[in-house]
């Protein structure tokens, strides 16, 4: 049986190659264009206003290496914490029926709608020196999270973990449970099913959630400055450095912004689309 391709229907190859086989209706094209301009114009503004001539001079006068290193390290650690705690949480929310599941899901996603500064204040009240839990940390171990790099990681994980949980939970819900059932009937233990069937099945959703989590953690400002404070090298991440530079030296702030932008762009662009989208 031969299959004929109809003339204006794009072939699978041309669609994968990104050939413009589809025509965009005007009522979608205009908002799409405006949306793109809205998102891209500020970036263009930043590039236009960058003091390209005195770039190295500006960089020399700032704590940029310390801030950048701290930002990258804390965002990665926060993502790690989110993975270790968030994936099991997502699994429980997706697979286990228990009373109050909807309430729990809402609570878990609360940091998403909470203003980050409010999150920072809440963290202080819970984990600060006089906090509900923090006072025990202080009296038993002599350790307190505010003003430490660990505090930065905690603040970033608090705001970023819900992204991961939502993404993974969504992937788990839409994953076909029959594969797992088949593996179970073939004699695989629960751990083997998780490791060899479930995780590979949700890998795109997991990867997308991880990237989103990392990006959110990298850009966090309000919770970090409120909970962990601001000190160069220890708690001053790039967003904090930009904010403070903006107060007396906008040129330096522009340069710092550009660097953070470049780093973020490199990470996002280097992620292959096929790793994060379902085939």
């Amino acid at each position: 049986m031969t299959v004929t391709t109809l003339p204006d229907e794009p072939t699978r190859r041309s669609r994968d190659a990104g050939a413009p086989g589809r025509r965009i209706p005007a009522f979608l094209f205009l908002p799409a264009l405006l949306g793109l301009l809205f998102l891209v114009l500020p970036l263009i503004g930043l590039l236009v206003r960058t003091p390209w001539g005195s770039l190295s001079q500006q960089l020399a006068g700032t704590d940029v290496t310390a801030a950048l290193r701290l930002s990258l390290v804390s965002a990665s650690l926060a993502t790690l914490v989110s993975l270790v705690l968030g994936v099991p949480l997502a699994w429980v929310l997706a697979r286990i029926e228990f009373p109050g599941r909807r309430v729990v899901r809402s609570l878990v996603t609360l940091p998403l709608v909470m203003p980050p500064v409010v999150g920072g204040v809440a963290l202080l009240l819970a984990l600060g020196r006089n906090g509900v839990l923090g006072r025990y940390l202080e009296s038993w171990f002599g350790y307190s999270l505010p003003f430490t790099t660990a505090g930065v990681v905690v603040a970033e994980a608090f705001v970023a973990m819900p992204f991961l949980v939502i993404s993974v939970e969504g992937a788990l819900r839409t994953a076909d449970a029959r594969y797992e059932e088949a593996a179970a009937t073939l004699g695989a233990s629960r751990l083997t099913v998780l490791r060899r069937v479930t995780l590979p099945l949700i890998a795109p959703g997991l990867a997308a959630g991880t990237v989103l989590c990392w990006a959110r953690a990298l850009g966090e400002f309000g919770a970090t400055i409120t909970f962990a404070g601001n000190f160069p090298g220890r708690t001053q991440t790039m967003p904090l450095a930009v904010y403070l530079a903006m107060e007396d030296d906008p040129q330096a702030a522009i340069v710092l912004s550009l660097i953070l932008l470049a780093v973020s762009l490199i990470v996002l662009v280097s992620l292959r689309e096929r790793w994060t989208t379902t085939p």
Binding site: I24, A26, L30, G128, N130, S144, G229
Partner: protein
């Protein structure tokens, strides 16, 4: 298979036409927008007597240390001039100065240092010479009762003590840097807060053991912190200038408000809150 009636070519033409029309409209709108300082831009008499011609909204950008005093002054100004309402934007002076030079719509700027006011005057965003209306000094804020027994700046270097300062770009941070240098003390804070109110909050919450804030902040905290004076604070006295802004939407009322701040009544309120003349 739906028939596609709009090809991208005609869709693009429509878009271009709309964008061009929008650009023309915007250009026309911009060129005809009046510099809305209005006809009453000539500065009226600087007497603070109640003037029934003063009306409208006045937007005042003021240093966060002025919050209590200026809120009172705003209410009193409204009572004296029922047609006028004063709204405030309190924040770090350096941040506010940047906002003003970036075009934020404000009528008056009251800064906590001449340096931050200079940012505004250099950009020609202030009218005339700013007037000094108050002075302030630093004080060490500690937990109520001073449990850690801090009596001087050098006590702040005791190990295990968590001290917060303001960021150097802000007036309180600049003053703190000066007094610390003059006292020849090597103080390493745990955090450089964005403004003096945040630094005070950290002590109030018990997260920090001490902070270098203004005397007025300690007085205004209502017992939530205890203040410890230190002699070096007179080395860095903050001068508070106030000015009407060039692009003030309501410069008549702005001038009246500044006059009120400088008047006897205004000065009395500031003195009551702990500001020095």
């Amino acid at each position: 298979m739906t028939s596609r009636q709009f090809s991208t070519r005609s869709g693009a033409r429509v878009t271009m036409a709309v964008l061009a029309a929008a650009a023309l409209a915007a250009a026309a709108g911009c060129s005809s927008s009046s510099n809305s300082t209005g006809a009453a831009s000539s500065s009226s008499s600087t007497s603070a007597s109640a003037s029934s011609t003063v009306s409208g909204a006045v937007t005042v950008f003021a240093a966060s240390s002025l919050k209590a005093a200026f809120t009172t002054l705003g209410a009193q100004f409204h009572t004296a001039n029922p047609g006028a309402t004063v709204t405030f934007n309190f924040g770090g002076s350096a941040t506010l100065a940047q906002q003003i030079t970036a075009g934020a719509p404000a009528d008056v700027f009251a800064a906590a240092s001449s340096a931050t006011m200079k940012t505004v005057t250099t950009a020609s965003d202030a009218v005339g010479t700013p007037s000094v209306f108050a002075h302030n000094q630093l004080e060490i804020a500690v937990a109520p009762g001073n449990p850690k027994n801090i009596t001087s700046l050098s006590d702040l270097t005791k190990s295990g003590l968590k001290v917060v300062l303001c960021a150097v770009a802000q007036p309180c941070g600049a003053a703190a840097a000066t007094v610390v240098k003059d006292a020849k003390v090597s103080l390493t804070p745990v955090s450089l807060e964005a403004d003096v109110a945040s630094a005070l909050t950290k002590v109030e919450l018990g997260e920090a053991d001490a902070a270098l804030v203004y005397k007025t902040d300690v007085q205004g905290s209502g017992g939530k912190v205890t203040g410890v004076d230190f002699p070096e604070s007179s080395d860095a006295i903050n001068t508070y200038p106030i000015a009407v802004l060039t692009h003030a939407p309501n410069s008549a009322a702005a001038t009246a408000f500044v006059a009120y701040v400088l008047s006897a009544q205004g000065q009395a309120v500031l003195a009551q809150d702990g500001f020095a003349k």
